[in-house]
């Protein structure tokens, strides 16, 4: 995929991205919502929209919502892809905290050259393919084995419970013991012991840590 060399100012890219994100459900978005999301005043949003409309990227009728044209959608999608790739790169591969990474991704996404971005995208893609192959479920560990939590895929309330108990990304968990009847399973994290049912532990995706790695 060839990234179009940026024809827009970074703030216009931000607008486009915001419209893309806000309109993904209904297909359109109101000016007030854009102003809300970006924290700009309505008049300045209207002005920017006029620019975008002139470039044929959006459609904006008075008293109706703002829509992306097919070209606008492509463009916005590319901006958003860049953001996502940068964010994943910063958080998962460099370990930048997510809040900081989001801010910085916002800045880099406008200035990065298409060539550099292409290389980055390939690199991130390869890395992701590798790591997701290496992912296993917390329930699949064997006694004494440790793993780092990567993500939790669970229904909302249960995920919340796990989060509160300290099952957050980056945390190292050790499987301590399996109950005599094979279920539930005892884990150690944050220096305390907690048990989960097998099916519950399966919601937690982890990257097993080699023995040497834990010691070093």
């Amino acid at each position: 995929m060839q990234l179009p060399e940026s024809k827009l100012s970074s703030s216009l890219e931000d607008y486009l991205e915001a419209i893309f994100l806000l309109s993904w459900k209904d297909g359109e978005v109101r000016v007030a919502e854009i102003a809300d999301a970006l924290g700009f005043s309505k008049p300045s949003v209207s002005e920017a929209l006029t620019h975008l409309e002139a470039k044929g990227l959006i459609q904006h009728e008075k008293y109706r919502g703002v829509r992306l044209t097919p070209e606008g959608r492509d463009f916005a999608q590319q901006v958003y892809e860049r953001h996502k790739t940068l964010f994943i790169f910063l958080t998962r591969m460099l370990g930048v905290p997510s809040a900081q990474a989001a801010l910085e991704a916002c800045r880099i996404e406008h200035t990065i050259s298409s060539d550099t971005y292409d290389r980055l995208r390939r690199f991130v893609g390869e890395q992701l393919a590798q790591t997701s192959d290496g992912l296993s479920r917390l329930s699949e560990l064997s006694p004494g084995e440790s793993a780092e939590i990567v993500r939790i895929q669970a229904p909302g309330w249960f995920r919340h419970r796990l989060l509160e108990m300290g099952f957050i990304a980056g945390e190292v968990v050790t499987l301590e013991k399996i109950a005599p009847l094979r279920d539930p399973i005892e884990f150690v994290l944050k220096g305390y012991h907690v048990s989960l049912r097998r099916e519950e532990a399966a919601h937690v995706f982890v990257r097993p840590i080699e023995k040497d790695e834990t010691e070093s």
């Binding site: 915001a18 994100l21 806000l22 993904w24 459900k25 919502e33 809300d36 999301a37 924290g39 958003y80 953001h83 996502k84 964010f87 994943i88 905290p97 997510s98 809040a99 900081q100 989001a102 801010l103 939790i152 909302g156 309330w157 249960f158 995920r159 919340h160 419970r161 796990l162 989060l163 509160e164 108990m165 300290g166 957050i168 990304a169 945390e171 013991k177 109950a179 005599p180 009847l181 094979r182 279920d183 539930p184 005892e186 150690v188 944050k190 220096g191 305390y192 012991h193 907690v194 048990s195 989960l196 049912r197 519950e200």
Partner: protein
């Protein structure tokens, strides 16, 4: 509302005349009190919160009355050097999210501003996980004092904690305590009074900084809440904004009903979506990560040595107690011991109570002329008192055992070992102990469901406990098996116990998959280190349970017993119907007894219950029950062992002689199949008064109580019907 003359809350109160929220958790006892400092104790389970509460309040505690709430909340008022402190022991929770009844109640009490100060009790050996709750308390804008409990264990683990640094980093006073030895309690007291007397404006506490993106989002929601709604009078707007961003359903509905709240909800929804789109994660996750991030950082900075992985004592013990092969046999042994303690040892004081009441009855009978009033006292009231008091030894012994299991930390292991079995019934591992105790007596068993964490698990377990064949039903089995299945008594009785378990499993699965489907049940269970229990904590617990039973249930059980006795004795048989003293011309005492038995039998038939029996007899016709059996069932509905003595009375065998009754029963020529169906019916048909009252009290729900009685009746009828019809098809009816 509260309470202590702290300016801000008072002003809020004046602005907002109406009660802040209509959740059913208003503090009744706090309502009109003034001039005292209200201190709420919050903390994780296993943090020693209750020990600290006991150390702070001593004997001055009672169960607070929260209408419509089944969670037990204790309060204690203590006056010292002119200052009155009212302590509220909040339920132990890991967080303030609305996933369980405990959490919702703890949160509501804190939200209502009922507490001037919150003492956050922390297990020193588990700082990170415990401090997560602190971030939530600070977000609520509460004044917090930390009690760094179990400080001795921290010292013993050779870790060094710089308490002052921790306190400064958290922006909260920190007081090390060793609650079970009462150490640090005076200091804690002083700090509480000091903090409470500080001017409100002094913002010493920090709240978590959630990073720029989230903070911007929070500001935006807060701004809209501030401009468009009046919620600021009642809540910390920052906290509301946080909850809206997290997508907390309870708070969302609070804001939704507020005039002008719709816009804030819309903004929050937009921001949630935006954050999700940007980060690929929900705001909720980011918030939790930030909280733990902050806490971990602070702990790392103030703890000089990492905590030892675990007190080796616990690991050693667990190596045996949750061992692959030894774990379950040991557990079963402990359960056997608990059962023996509760019901075998408990039967000794029960004997004393029975003898005492029997003695009292004879005294009354001797001292007063025979007549309806004396009957009321001896049979109705004393009988009812006996019906209440008889539970007490079981309750005391069972809760002694349960406290021991809980305080040592074994309870969590019991749940760990048994969850596989219980989960297959749709239950929680912790349900095992209450269910098992149900075989002894349902009443203490139902009271023991308090150890379960979620309302769903408690309710479901409570609905199944009455299916456990308690010892009162055993008397009926023995009599019938002896009369109709001579030589096969053992098999018949055993089959009933098996049936009881099978039906409980079936009903558990059925309810779990229908009525309780989708309701949250999980097994995220902390396995705390083993600890030595303190006798004091155990005694307090046992005492609280006993007095709770007497206060909350005793009266009802007594009243119902008297009513049932009354219905069985009135209207009186007209005295003229037959002259008993004239009839036995032979003068033999045996005939006189017979005549008296005859009289009693007729009396029951004539009474309200007897008439009811005749009335409902058609219902039991398909089961082949005789009218006598129907009456015995009605009389026995509230107290099942009475089925035996009632049958004795009705069949004119007297209420005391079991031998005689067995012969009389045998002489009725009742087909054994019907007798067996009768036993099946007795097993399931209705919980006794004590169980119903305990169920009503523990679940706090009249609807569920009615459901319990109805479903058990239908179940009993259906199973008895299946037995009779099935038996007839198989040609078992002689």
């Amino acid at each position: 509302m509260s309470s202590f003359a702290l300016s801000r809350k008072m002003k809020r109160n004046r602005k907002q005349a109406e009660p802040p929220i209509s959740w059913p958790t208003r503090l009744s006892s706090l309502a009109e009190k003034r001039g005292e400092i209200v201190v709420a104790l919050a903390g994780n389970p296993n943090s020693g919160k209750t020990s600290l509460f006991n150390a702070l309040t001593g004997a001055h505690q009672h169960t607070a009355n929260y209408p419509g709430v089944t969670v037990e909340i204790k309060e204690g008022v203590v006056q010292r050097s002119g200052v009155t402190l009212r302590f509220i022991d909040l339920p132990g929770t890991y967080s303030l999210s609305p996933h369980s009844e405990e959490e919702i109640i703890a949160r509501d009490i804190l939200l209502q501003g009922s507490a001037d100060i919150v003492v956050h009790v922390i297990d020193s050996t588990n700082l990170e996980r415990n401090l997560y709750l602190l971030t939530e308390l600070l977000d609520l804008g509460l004044r917090v004092v930390i009690a760094l409990n179990m400080y001795d264990e921290l010292l013993r683990s050779h870790a060094r904690l710089r308490v002052r640094e921790l306190s400064e980093a958290l922006g909260v006073p920190v007081v090390p305590t060793i609650a079970h030895r009462g150490q640090g309690v005076n200091r804690l007291w002083a700090v509480i009074v000091h903090v409470a007397s500080e001017p409100e404006q002094k913002e010493i506490q920090k709240s978590v900084h959630y990073g720029e993106t989230l903070e911007t989002a929070l500001d935006e929601i807060r701004k809209s809440l501030h401009e468009k709604t009046c919620l600021g009078h009642r809540y910390s707007l920052r906290w509301l904004a946080l909850k809206l961003l997290e997508g907390d359903a309870v708070i969302d509905s609070v804001v939704a009903v507020e005039p002008g709240g719709e816009e804030s909800r819309r903004i929050a929804r937009g921001l949630r979506e935006k954050i999700h789109a940007t980060y690929g994660e929900d705001a909720e996750i980011l918030i939790a990560e930030q909280r733990y991030g902050l806490v971990a950082g602070i702990v790392r900075r103030s703890l000089s040595l990492p905590l030892e992985k675990r007190v080796s004592f616990t690991s050693q013990l667990d190596r045996v107690l949750t061992h692959t092969y030894l774990g379950i046999p040991l557990f079963l042994f402990f359960m056997w011991a608990l059962f023996q303690l509760t019901f075998s040892l408990g039967s000794i004081p029960q004997g004393w109570i029975e003898n005492g009441l029997a003695w009292l009855t004879t005294q009354v009978k001797a001292g007063f002329p025979a007549g309806p009033l004396t009957d009321l006292v001896t049979q109705g009231i004393l009988g009812g008192v006996g019906g209440v008091a008889i539970f007490l030894p079981n309750i005391f012994f069972l809760f002694f055992g349960i406290s021991l299991l809980e305080d040592t930390g074994y309870m969590a292991r019991a749940a760990f070992l048994m969850d596989r079995v219980m989960h297959s019934m749709g239950l929680h591992g912790k349900s095992f102990i209450p269910l098992l105790m149900g075989f002894g007596c349902n009443v203490p068993a139902i009271m023991a469901t308090r150890t379960l964490e979620t309302r769903r698990d408690r309710l479901l377990t409570n609905l199944l406990i009455p299916l456990m064949s308690c010892s009162a039903r055993f008397y009926v089995y023995v009599l019938f098996a002896g009369a109709f299945f001579p030589g096969r008594e053992g098999n018949v009785i055993f089959s009933l116990y098996v049936l009881s378990i099978l039906v409980a499993v079936g009903i558990g699965q059925l309810l779990g998959r229908t009525v309780f489907r989708g309701l949250g049940s999980h097994f995220v269970l902390e396995l705390p280190p083993y600890r030595f229990p303190t006798p004091r904590a155990i005694l307090v617990h046992v005492w609280m349970k006993g007095s709770h039973f007497l206060k909350k249930m005793g009266g009802y059980i007594l009243a119902f017993s008297v009513v049932i006795w009354f219905l069985g004795s009135w209207p009186r048989l007209p005295a003229s119907s037959r002259d008993y003293d004239a009839a036995p011309s032979m003068g033999a005492t045996i005939t006189k007894d017979l005549a008296q038995n005859q009289h009693l039998s007729e009396q029951i038939g004539y009474s309200a219950i007897g008439r009811l029996g005749t009335l409902v007899q058609p219902i039991f016709e398909p089961l082949g029950f005789t009218r006598e059996m129907t009456i015995a069932l009605i009389v026995g509905a509230p107290v099942k062992e009475v089925v035996v003595s009632t049958l004795g009375v009705i069949y004119g065998a007297g209420s005391d002689s079991e031998e005689g009754l067995r012969d009389v029963l045998r002489s009725t020529q009742l087909p054994p199949l019907i007798a067996y169906a009768f036993l099946v019916f007795v097993l399931f048909y209705a919980p006794c008064i004590g169980t119903i009252v305990a169920f009503r009290r523990e679940t706090g729900s009249r609807a569920w109580t009615v459901f319990l009685i109805a479903y058990e009746f239908l179940l009993a009828w259906a199973l008895a019907f299946v037995v009779v019809q099935g038996g007839m098809i198989l040609g078992l009816m002689r």
